[in-house]
């Protein structure tokens, strides 16, 4: 982890409900420092782009070979040769550059990106990530760039719901789904709370519509507070 948490004391927002998806995206955008190089994974993480501050100087990377990616393209701006990793047409900002796949993944693997934001099926209390395979025996395995992204930035932020549809926690002592990467996640953003994860375990940064004690009762992961020593 290289980016400091946004607060020096755990904050419990009890006077409101859980974050909406939009609010989660905005929270992540708030926490990305100006001038960062950022890769936003396909799906939900892509929406973080809509909340980046104008003039922040944040540069978006897409692993299919571009820095300086702009918003989604519409109408006449759609160019079949210009798409993001989710194969959605995008635009080019001034100062963009193109490079081939080996150079693009060298950029990630070499630790040059500041932040990747990814979705997840599960994250362990120490930052292991499972986001590529549910382990279902009949699933066709498909990893794409997930394993490269998992190790591809100084900070890897996960954006996910805290609980699966069946109510089981997705922040877990140990991932039961096949792993994408070991000890690679530094922060987990959910609708109920934001967590730091890593070698020292899981720390709550902020809660939304709930408190740390309540969350501790719903998760199998020991939770600590920032500034509580």
């Amino acid at each position: 982890m290289t980016i400091a948490p946004p607060t020096d004391r755990t904050v419990e927002h009890l006077d409101r409900g859980p974050l909406t998806r939009e609010e989660m995206a905005a929270t992540i955008a708030r926490d990305i420092p100006d001038g960062s190089y950022v890769n936003l994974g396909i799906g939900q993480p892509t929406t973080v782009a809509d909340h980046l501050r104008p003039g922040s100087g944040i540069v978006l990377h897409t692993e299919n070979g571009m820095l300086g990616m702009g918003p989604a393209a519409t109408g006449d701006d759609i160019d079949p040769d210009l798409m993001n990793a989710g194969k959605i047409p995008v635009t080019e900002l001034p100062g963009a550059s193109y490079f081939h796949h080996a150079d693009s993944f060298a950029m990630m693997r070499g630790g040059h990106l500041d932040v990747c934001v990814l979705g997840a099926f599960q994250v362990s209390e120490h930052g292991d990530l499972a986001n590529w395979h549910t382990g279902a025996p009949d699933a066709i395995p498909a990893v794409g760039g997930a394993m490269d992204l998992a190790i591809g930035a100084k900070d890897v932020f996960v954006m996910m719901t805290l609980f699966a549809k069946d109510g089981t926690p997705k922040l877990v002592p140990r991932c039961t789904y096949p792993l994408t990467g070991l000890a690679c996640v530094s922060r987990v953003y959910t609708e109920h709370a934001t967590f730091l994860v890593g070698p020292h375990g899981t720390t709550v940064v902020e809660t939304f519509g709930t408190g740390v004690d309540d969350l501790a009762g719903r998760l199998d992961v020991p939770l600590t507070r920032i500034g509580a020593s």
Binding site: D81, L82, M83, K87, Y98, H100, S104, A106, M147, D148
Partner: protein, 224 residues
């Protein structure tokens, strides 16, 4: 030495049964659809195909798969919304699959082109895709040993080429093309435009002609 092929049939002539064929493109950007169509007509079978995806819809790589020509796919992301041709073959046990993380796919081909025998890579450490592979801790970090992926043939799509085989690409259609061009014994490029020698800026050439054996011009109309 680069040859300008008159037709896509000429361009893909001689691809042998059992060949390993690297096919460029990420989604449809950079996908050499006209060359794949020519390969289907040419008839080579029992192929191993290396490409990021495993075909979309019914055209291009999906059509090659549907024709029963591919024994094995090496790719990062076979499963897509419209990958039903591959999905069917796979569930019927009629095609082998090696799933490789996308960056490893690129780097393993880069290694083949660059004469690197193997490399220690941090991607996938501790995951099912590293099972059975040699691992090593170097300077405190864990790595998996990865081997080169060489092609007998590469089929790639580029924007413009010159008679020496120098290539430039357009935007994110560059993707795997330049890497695959280095990794195959024979590289075949379809380009939108063949320009005169000297027309490409030497500072902006992405794939030097040394990597390109055959080029063929395919107009936008013909690929649409």
């Amino acid at each position: 030495m680069t040859v300008i092929a008159e037709t896509t049939a000429d361009a893909v002539a001689g691809i042998a049964d059992g060949a390993t064929v690297l096919i460029g493109g990420f989604g449809m950007a950079g996908m050499p659809v006209a060359l794949i169509d020519a390969l289907i007509a040419q008839g080579a079978t029992n192929l191993t195909v290396v490409s990021n995806n495993a075909g979309n819809g019914d055209t291009g790589l999906a059509a090659l798969l549907a024709a029963g020509r591919v024994a094995k796919m090496i790719c990062s992301f076979p499963r897509q919304a419209d990958s039903y041709v591959f999905d069917g073959l796979y569930r019927d046990g009629r095609i082998d699959l090696e799933v490789v993380p996308q960056g490893n796919l690129a780097e393993r081909m880069r290694a083949a082109g660059a004469g690197i025998g193997a490399f220690f890579c941090p991607t996938g450490v501790g995951t099912p895709l590293a099972e059975g592979k040699e691992t090593r801790t170097i300077d405190g970090r864990d790595y998996v040993l990865e081997l080169p992926i060489k092609g007998d043939v590469a089929l790639i799509g580029a924007h413009a080429g010159d008679p020496l085989g120098n290539l430039v690409y357009r935007k994110t259609a560059r993707n795997f093309g330049p890497v695959m061009a280095t990794a195959a014994a024979t590289t075949i490029a379809q380009v939108t435009r063949i320009v005169d020698t000297g027309d490409l800026d030497p500072e902006a050439v992405v794939t030097p002609g040394i990597y390109v054996d055959r080029i063929v011009q395919v107009t936008q109309e013909a690929t649409a």
